[in-house]
Amino acid sequence: MKETYARKWLRDALGIFNLELGRLLRDGGVMIIFVVAGFLYPILYNFVYKNGVLEDTPIAVVDDADCSDSRRMIREMDATREIDIAYRCTDMQQARGLFQERKVNGIIYFPEDFGERLAGEQTAVFSIYADMSSFLYYKNLLMGSEFVMLHEINNIKVERFRFDGLTDQQADASVNTVLYDDNNPWNRAFSYSIFLISAILMLIIQQVMFYGMSMSVGTMREENRSFASLPDTLSGHGVGRVVLGRGAVYWLLFMIIGIYVGLIVPAMFGFPQRGSFRDIMVLLMIFVTVCVFFCMSWSTLVTRRESAFILFLFMSPVCIFLTGCSWPATAFPAFWKWFSYLFPSTFGCQAFINLNTAGADLEIVAPQLRALCIQGIVYFVVACGAVYVENFVIKRKDRIDEVRKGMEQRIEQRIERRIGAGKTQI
């Protein structure tokens, strides 16, 4: 049979694929990272953020007003999901003590004139003191007391209109001139876990692949081998074969991990899965491909087995911020916005959040997928470039060494001549 270019290409790529697969499977350290981190991290994070919602924040109340209105409001606040009236204190001093001992995370204070002002149709003000050491305490105290306040305002106003002789319906129409109806369809309780886990899952794929691949590249470097050496039969060509052959190994491994992370873990933890299976598979395929080229490009810089941990571990939390799941992407400073485009996780996490958790379809996440594709092309070229440069250096190692030696010699000679000249002057 005639050996066509395509056939030869495939055979070479398959050879490189087999080589790399064998190398990975034999490297216990890398496999541990893939298996333990890839399979354990999603579970651990789901476990930490399982509840996601903070309920019944303990609050101390100081009721100097001691009127029926303040007592009713305290009862209503205690009944909210957010607030638990844990202590009723006689004065602020006592409440402050509890606050500092961290027995309560906030104080509600009704001043003496609260009831009088209310009766006199003036604005009656009560105070809340929130512990800002975690914003969730503040959110709970504020939401709980604000709901009760709005409810009270409504009741008081309706009551007053009724005194003026309006019917219930008229009073209601005069008070609630505009009604509203608020929906938070994909994260009803503003659960911390739903927003964070959606973003973390895709990031785990990228980071685990990066640490694993860097470790493998570092090992080869330590053993004075190169990750990129072209088989001799290729006579210097076939950069694409090396990149795609090697990449296919990681791609296959990480499609397995990706399916586990993106489809099985959410199901295991009863996490919302509103996207269609097909759409999520399409995203995973694109995302994993881009991650492979991304990791190949950056792991070129790694020279030792462990250095990826030391130099890049701090990037994981940074990448979470760069996805825009917490601080909105529209408010990113310009520099960090551009910086975030370096990482596949930026678009991958956004697309996963939209597809899986918000139930979007591929048309809606098209901008993210397009960005991922552009990243993929760029990183593929960079990865090929890295292999080419690496081979260039290896092949001409002797020549480069010669040049370097020659230069060193010349410099030494020159220095010697200078010194010699100096001596003669002396």
Binding site: G29, I33, V36, Y45, V48, Y49, G52, L54, F99, R102, Q122, T123, A124, V125, F126, S127, I128, A130, S133, S134, L136, Y138, L142, E146, L150, I153, I156, R160, A173, V175, N176, T177, V178, L179, Y180, D181, D182, N183, N184, P185, W186, N187, Y192, I194, F195, F309, I310, L311, L313, F314, P317, G324, C325, T330, A331, P333, W336, I353, N354, I364
Partner: protein, 389 residues
């Protein structure tokens, strides 16, 4: 050789290693500088402004247009107009706008006729901060709109201006945010994220420093320089790293509280003490890990797993009491947890020694951990009988 001479020998040896391999300085100084720069510049606004709110104005009356203008004028919100709900929802589902507000047809007419029109909000709670802020903004604006309508009615009825406010808003809240009066997210996150990164870097780098001795088989040379005294060998290394990381940590504290002027109720000295103890305790954890698992790569993987989870388990975002009961005990294994508690006492409440000494004790207790494993580490250093890679 006296103990101090031995330590001096180790320090000199370690400095030579640093000079030969820049990874130690890059991995500590550069990484921490990058992190500090990132968290301080990324969150420099404190509170995000101009989050995109989609408005579908089906009414197009003067009232609804006034509502849009008012909403746009708030610091938080920026209005994007859409012609129909479908396209607004499309963009909200794609995360491009944080929320959608639909003003129904006949909004103005219904208000005038007291027919109580209903506005609808849809919020994307998956982009947490943007979503919750947009929600807050929309709620405020709709309450203000209802209030404005009532104010007009009251004025028409001839109620004097002085009592209108009491009528419109019979009850109000006076909010005091203790420890962060401007609700600055940058201060909130950077205060703990940067020390969290410091904990991570200390653990990883010290494990690496102690582990490479095993990996490259130089541990015997290290023991030779100290006459086989493992206490001196580890103390010497730890002393140098303590100096390096304490200096880094103190610079961070100065940057946070003096340069950025993040709120601090107590004294800077207290936070510096906390930072010094955080460094010591993290080093103790690092020695414990490499002592238990004297294989550089394994120890690093464990250290990485441990320290990355530490950021979540400290409880400054999702408080510890909201975690599953089984995990609450685990949070006590992190030095950062005590640093956080100490920050709450010193930084938020400005409490005295009586309130925070217990956290100093807890962080000091970590320093006993290495003694559990030093003999084991010495064995590994002498015999090199573990897997190297």
């Amino acid at each position: 050789m006296t103990f101090s001479e031995k330590i001096w020998n180790v320090v000199r040896r370690e400095v030579r290693i640093w000079v030969r391999r820049p990874i130690y300085i890059v991995g500590s100084v550069f990484v921490m500088a990058f992190c500090t720069f990132f968290y301080l510049s990324f969150l420099k606004d404190g509170v995000p402004s101009d989050v995109l709110i989609a408005v579908v104005d089906l009414d197009g009356s003067s009232t609804s247009r006034e509502f849009c203008r008012q909403l746009d004028a708030t610091q938080l919100g920026k209005v994007v107009h859409y012609d129909d709900f479908a396209s607004a929802r499309f963009d909200m589902q794609g995360g491009r706008v944080t929320s959608v507000c639909v003003i129904p047809e006949g909004f103005n007419r219904d208000i005038q006729a007291q027919r109580q029109p209903t506005m609808s909000f849809y919020i994307n709670g998956l982009y947490f901060l943007g979503g919750s802020l947009a929600w807050k903004d929309l709620l405020t604006m709709v309450n203000l709109t209802a209030g404005a309508v009532q104010r007009e009615v009251l004025r028409m009825q001839g109620v004097p201006e002085s009592t209108i406010m009491g009528q419109l808003r019979p009850v109000d809240i006076d909010i005091h945010q203790i420890g962060n009066p401007t609700m600055n997210y940058g201060a909130y996150l950077a205060n703990m994220m940067i020390p969290g990164m410091l904990q991570m870097v200390v653990i990883i780098l010290l494990i690496y420093s102690l582990g490479t001795e095993l990996k490259y088989g130089t541990s015997r040379h290290l023991l030779q320089t100290v006459d086989g005294d493992i206490y001196a060998a580890v103390s010497g290394k730890v002393a140098l790293y303590t100096l390096l990381f304490t200096l880094i940590g103190w610079s961070i504290e100065v940057i946070l509280y003096k340069w950025m002027h993040f709120p601090l109720a107590g004294r800077l000295g207290q936070m510096m003490l906390a930072c010094f103890l955080l460094v010591l305790a993290s080093e103790a954890v690092a020695v414990l890990i490499i002592g238990c698992v004297p294989v550089c790569r394994f120890a690093l993987s464990i250290g990485a797993l441990y320290s990355v989870l530490g950021l979540s388990l400290t409880g400054f975002t999702l408080p510890v009491e909201a975690m599953p009961a089984g995990l609450r005990g685990l949070t006590m294994m992190y030095p950062l947890r005590y640093y956080y508690e100490m920050y709450v006492q010193c930084g938020v409440f400005g409490s005295g020694f009586g309130q925070w000494y217990i956290y100093v004790v807890a962080l000091l207790l970590f320093c006993f951990l290495p003694f559990l494993v030093l003999r084991r580490l010495k064995h590994a250093y002498e015999y090199l009988d573990y897997e190297r890679n």
